[in-house]
Amino acid sequence: MKTTSFVEIAQYALGALKKSGADKSSCIAKKTIRDEFNVEANAFTLMRTTFDNSLVLTAIVGGRRGVTAINKHDKASIDEAADACVALAKSSEPDDAFDIAELVENKVFIKPEITKDRDGLFARIREYLGQVRDEFPKIIIEGFSSTLTDAEEAYVNSNGVIFESRYDAYGFHSMFVAKDGEKGTSFNYDGASFLKPSTPFLDSGMHRTLLEEAVKSLDTRMVDEKFTGKVIVTPACTDMLWGTITDNFLGDRALIEGTSRWKDALGTQVADKKLTFRAAPLNEPHIITGSRWTNDGYITRDVDFIKDGVLKSFALGLYGAKKTGKPRADTSTYHCEVLPGDIALAEIIKSTERGILLNRFSGGSPGASGDISGVAKNSFLIENGAVTDALQETMISFNILDALKNISAISRERVTNGTTHLPWVCLDGITVSGK
């Protein structure tokens, strides 16, 4: 295999770690050049270019582990970081669960077409600002950034594992409000990643819908009572369900601590059978930012966490797996999808007597109990089978574990933003309260 300069840098670092006394070691070397355009209050404000390096060293000495990270690639800096890393490891506590990946297969991941089309990206931003100005005159783009990232990266470890990657990627993130005189809405935000700047930003994912809904939210209504109803979680509201599940019930920390309420639930029904929730970093073209290897040194794969409502896998890394005796997932939880249902969104809304269309959730990070409460933002009331008014100051509270067993419908339609691929999910039995 022909090696790049980044493999050579990483291998030099491995040599330095060995010379300093490491029994086992790994290194990730990366170089990133990023162009970024910023917009505030609908006007361009800044263009920046950042040239950055990173080098992450891990050393295991006598079962003890240390990690150092620097942003230099010169030999003197690497030697110094390697010495520091080994010293860290020696001062640490021994733990049999510290390890590095074994050699299975070395691989090179290079995006077939590196375009680095900065002018194309700039043209898309101008197009976007023009479209927003013409189609949504009441929208203010509060903060916007769009990036072109050009990255080269290598992972190597002392078991002989070598991965290399080269890619460029485009993306935008837009935070916006609607404003009409002194009337204004809550902010909302959206973004997407692309392989090329070939699609208008306004046409990506739910972006146009979210802008339309922001304008509709200039007039809001207060729910003046407390009721129990349905909440339709849109694909824009990602973290409340899917982020919470992976962090609180599937990940290393929750399982090592034993606080995961699913710690003994593998193979059992934890959700309604309509739900299949999976990590899908390889699911192109819907998910295009998925990492190709884990920081532990394994090639990533798509993994079903919950299939037909049954818990199939945790999201454990190498350390968590060794610590708990449960299998590794070798995946990226950040890149996830939920499989579609067999009913149209319009039908789900039509069958909802009273509930909420939830676009954004502003709430505290839920604890290990799964109890969640927070404010429904940029959201709408559903009454007698129709979406009616935008909501103001409306709180929802529920337990996520109970709610997963109470999914009444999953939409046929799904939305992708390059990182996730999600449908609308209708949860029943949610407490809704106004002021």
């Binding site: 800044l46 950042t50 582990r65 942003n71 640490s92 204004g184 034993g258 709430g363 100051e393 709180m395």
Partner: protein, 462 residues
């Protein structure tokens, strides 16, 4: 310590230019249920240049710091500002000069040698062992020891050049227990100081009384009840009032967010709070003492001054960068700060507090017949409308003027300028909180504080 390769370039600056070298160094040790799952050091260093022309900025940064790399970064920033100015043509005039700026503001705190990682490791291990031995009925525990040192060297085309050093030391403790039916219940406390880690964290027993209290609170929470949802009379602990000052009010009066549609835009000069409320973003000195995170010069070279935000209930001003200050016709006060060398300065809070009042805390509790005492918040968010949300990790019922049962995790929310008008008692004490980071595009160290407040608050529950 950073060598000065920057000043030599100052005479060549054509447009408004900021040239900054920076090193962020951090160390971290994490013990999860007694396992040392984290033992890391990281250092990020480099330089950046930002130039202003015609209403737009060009920015560039690089990880190398040498005479040649300074030239390269200046060249890249110049190309970017030219590209933007040529394409956008906003036609704005140059930024106003800073009047009467001092030549160079030197280090206010000497740069000290970093401590060895073993200091953090030993401290974390001893603290973890102490917790494991003393506190029964825990199902898990996490101890995190952390340091962050930030050194900056700044040269600007006009204004104040500066050399600053801000060291922060932090210890975080999470305790977890379970209810009788196996539901996990958690509580967290952060301890943070500005200075070297071992100046403050040398003997874990010094935290014993605070940890006793944390454990006691956890046991009370384990047996807690769900709050009743709705609008309630509440007493907010000073820690929570500090979060309120930062999230619910502070962000809405950052001038970039004002221009982006914040509710504060239409409220300047108007009453937005009870007359008992005054709020200031202090630069470096508050109530006669040095602030927890003093800022003397910001990253645009503006000498830092206090920003008066609310005075006796009236909204008096916003926080500014040099550009937004020009837009609003006021003087900048030093709020533009950047977190890493590769970040551009953004409008950020520094030491934001609601001023203490005259009421006694015990009288405030005694005055509530049926409500809640809200103590700890895990996190919070604010909106451009002034709507805010905080999670409440610890709180108690107040019944007939006395504290009652603890409540389970819940959320409070409201509209800042409406809620602040309901404040009718303000305690005569002040508590600072500096253990967190603000996350507005970039992370940033900030401090916040306040007294206890009695007000009406919308509380979640079941």
């Amino acid at each position: 310590m950073l060598h000065d390769y920057l000043t030599a370039h100052k005479k060549h600056f054509a447009d408004h230019t900021e040239l900054r070298a920076q090193v962020n160094t951090s160390k971290r040790v994490v013990l999860l249920a007694g396992n040392m799952v984290g033992n890391t050091q990281s250092q990020k260093s480099g330089i950046s240049a930002r130039m202003y022309r015609g209403g737009v900025y060009g920015f560039a940064s690089g990880a190398e710091y040498s005479p040649d790399s300074v030239k390269n970064v200046l060249k890249a920033a110049a190309e970017n500002v030219r590209f933007m100015d040529d394409n956008i043509r906003r036609g704005e005039p140059p930024l106003p000069k800073i009047k009467d700026a001092p030549g160079k503001v030197g280090l206010k705190k000497p740069i000290f040698d970093d401590i060895p990682q073993s200091v953090l490791i030993d401290y974390a291990k001893n603290l973890d062992a102490f917790i494991a031995k003393k506190y029964r009925n825990l199902s898990s525990r996490t101890v995190l020891a952390d340091t962050l040192y930030m050194e900056k060297l700044l040269t600007v085309s006009d204004g104040a050049d500066s050399h600053s050093f801000q060291p922060r030391a932090m210890v975080y403790v999470w305790l977890t227990t379970e209810t009788s039916d196996g539901v996990p219940v958690e509580l967290f406390k952060g301890f943070s100081h500005v200075g070297r880690f071992d100046e403050y964290f040398c003997d874990h027993a010094a935290l014993e009384s605070e940890l006793d209290k944390l454990y006691e609170n956890l046991m009370e929470k384990r047996d807690g009840v769900y709050a009743n949802a709705g609008l309630k009379k509440c007493v907010l602990h000073p820690d929570l009032a500090g979060m309120l000052s930062h999230e619910a009010v502070g962000h809405t009066v950052e001038a970039d967010l004002v221009l982006g549609g914040s509710v504060a835009a239409h409220n300047l000069g108007k009453q937005v709070a009870s007359e008992k409320i005054s709020m200031t973003d202090f630069a470096h000195t508050a109530f006669g003492k040095t602030c927890p995170l003093p800022v003397y010069v910001d990253d645009e070279g503006t000498p830092a001054e206090d920003a008066v935000l609310i005075e006796n209930g009236y909204l008096r001003g916003f926080m500014h960068s040099r550009e937004t200050a020009r837009h609003f016709g006021v003087s900048p006060q030093g709020n533009a700060r950047a977190f890493e060398f590769s970040d551009e300065p953004l409008i950020r809070m520094r030491n934001t507090v609601i001023h203490p009042g005259t009421d006694k805390f015990d009288d405030m509790i005694a005055s509530v017949d049926d409500g809640y005492f809200l103590v700890k918040t895990g996190n919070g968010q604010a909106d451009s409308t002034g709507e805010f949300m905080f999670s409440v990790d610890l709180g108690y019922e107040i019944k007939n003027g006395k504290l009652g049962k603890a409540i389970r995790e819940t959320t409070i929310s409201g509209v800042a300028f409406e809620m602040l008008k309901t404040v009718d008692m303000v305690s005569d004490d002040l508590a600072w909180e500096i253990s967190g980071f603000c996350g507005k595009k970039q992370s940033m160290t900030t401090s916040m504080g306040g007294p206890a407040l009695r007000c009406e608050m919308n509380i979640g529950g079941r």
